[in-house]
Assembly symmetry: C2
């Protein structure tokens, strides 16, 4: 073991070099963080420090401060940081770009090609993507979150007519976070309905769901994982036991097959993946721009 | 008016040319959509059609189908589409890249610079960013969403000790969506507490909040907007009236000033902007990668 040509202390220092990550934006920093994080998942994390988001860098003082912070990290880490930038303002970007860092201009890199393609000059207005500039979209998301909360866990079927989709499945399968995500990110009216033990035993779709058959989508999960999730909520309960969990899942899946309801095993999927799959399989539009 | 050198029919056709947008990914498509949408906000929407997300393009058949769909749009629109891609697999990407479109490789463009900087070869594994590969992160988000729901609207103070922050403000100011967003995106334990008319009149922090003073952050809003939001919930109510709304807001802001609680006017801010500001001003870490 070891790196030849270096003393023990030096080797230790070399192996502990880890570069800092900065996400810099004149807006929220969400876009910079999303692409930067995606890119970094392709690399070994061992030599990468945690990322820091520096949002709202929208004047000269903040740009200078950002540059100072980045340079301080470079000095402290012994290796230059990586900066993912979505800054739009050219003058402010120039200040941050002078930092001792690998500066990746996520925005500027593509703007030229888009300008040529669209025969337009870009607006260069900061932070439009996650701002409230689109009032209608804002209101529709607030409305969708309200809807998801009002129609969580089958509390009422009053709004099923207005629902874009209704998720069903046993308790703790992931219905609520998926509905909230669909509401928050896509402004969809997503209700969810927990299948009770009695409904599963009856092997028939609950009557309240029958008029909305085409809006239904099922979630299922592996028994081991469900047992774990239920144990966290109610340790030592029958609810979390292997027998109970297996019976409910087998019954729920059989019910969904009998009733021809499409369903997805969520065990190895993130909320984002579940949402993307549900949208795709329900042929729900996920227009983000119109 | 008109474009010289063209007949009336031709002019109409030219002015109605609008290019389609595709977000293509071997994963959920969230990253492609986030950056693509950010870039497009810089342009006039008039000549741009709605965007379509094509997720999970992870085999040759799906890549070929994607190319066919893009080419069909090009033919139908009379103008080639713009493709924002985060595809990782080089062979599949090559198939989609052959489409008649402006192909923007959001991923590949930066991978080379990162490989050089990190002295590593990228893993080229699809869809890692929004997958459930990070089990701990998944569980912490589920837990955070549960916490937000359990501690919504001041229903219980039991978990305030575990809270990362507690948002307070009058009814309909935007506390719930902000808490859910902080939970979903950042895995933070965010509770929220609605200030009642009595608590506002008393001009003292409710006793249940006092032990958690350093976790408090206030939200406020312009009276006109609050009146509108409350009207949607309860049309014609005193609750939505100008007098009521003005009194509550003036009192709540005065209370927050007296108690030295930082607060933000949410009127012109999106949920993402509110969240980013709260995190920054509470100095809460928003590490996305560690």
């Amino acid at each position: 073991m070891g790196i030849s040509g270096w003393g023990v202390d030096e080797q230790q220092k070399i192996l502990s070099l880890r570069c800092s990550i900065f996400y810099v934006s004149d807006g929220t920093g969400i876009t910079a963080q999303t692409l930067g994080h995606s890119l970094l998942t392709q690399f070994d994390r061992q030599f990468i420090k945690g990322g820091r988001v520096l949002p709202f860098v929208d004047d000269v003082a903040k740009a200078v401060q950002t540059r100072t912070e980045i340079n301080r990290s470079a000095e402290h880490d012994g290796v230059r940081p990586i900066v993912f930038s979505t800054m739009v303002n050219e003058a402010l970007k120039a200040i941050v770009r002078e930092s001792n860092a690998l500066f990746l201009d996520l925005f500027g890199t593509f703007i030229g090609a888009l300008e040529a393609e669209l025969h337009q000059t870009a607006g260069r207005v900061r932070g439009l993507a996650h701002s409230a500039s689109d009032y209608d979209r804002y209101m529709s998301r607030i409305d969708a979150v309200d809807f998801a909360l009002q129609h969580d866990d089958g509390v009422t079927a009053d709004g099923y007519g207005r629902a874009d989709l209704i998720l069903l499945g046993v308790s703790r399968v992931g219905k609520t976070p998926t509905c909230l995500y669909l509401a928050m990110q896509h402004g969809l009216h997503a209700a969810n309905y927990p299948l009770s033990v009695e409904e599963i035993q009856a092997q028939r779709l609950p009557s309240v769901l029958r008029p909305h058959r085409r809006k239904l989508f099922g979630l299922t999960i592996q028994p081991e994982r469900l047992s774990q999730l239920r144990y966290i909520r109610k340790p030592g309960s029958v609810y979390a036991s292997a027998g109970q969990v297996r019976n409910e899942l087998t019954g729920a899946e059989s019910l969904m097959q009998v009733e021809s309801i499409p369903y997805l095993d969520t065990t190895v999927h993130s909320i984002e993946e579940i949402a993307a799959t549900v949208l795709q399989r329900c042929s729900l539009s996920i227009e983000s721009f119109s």
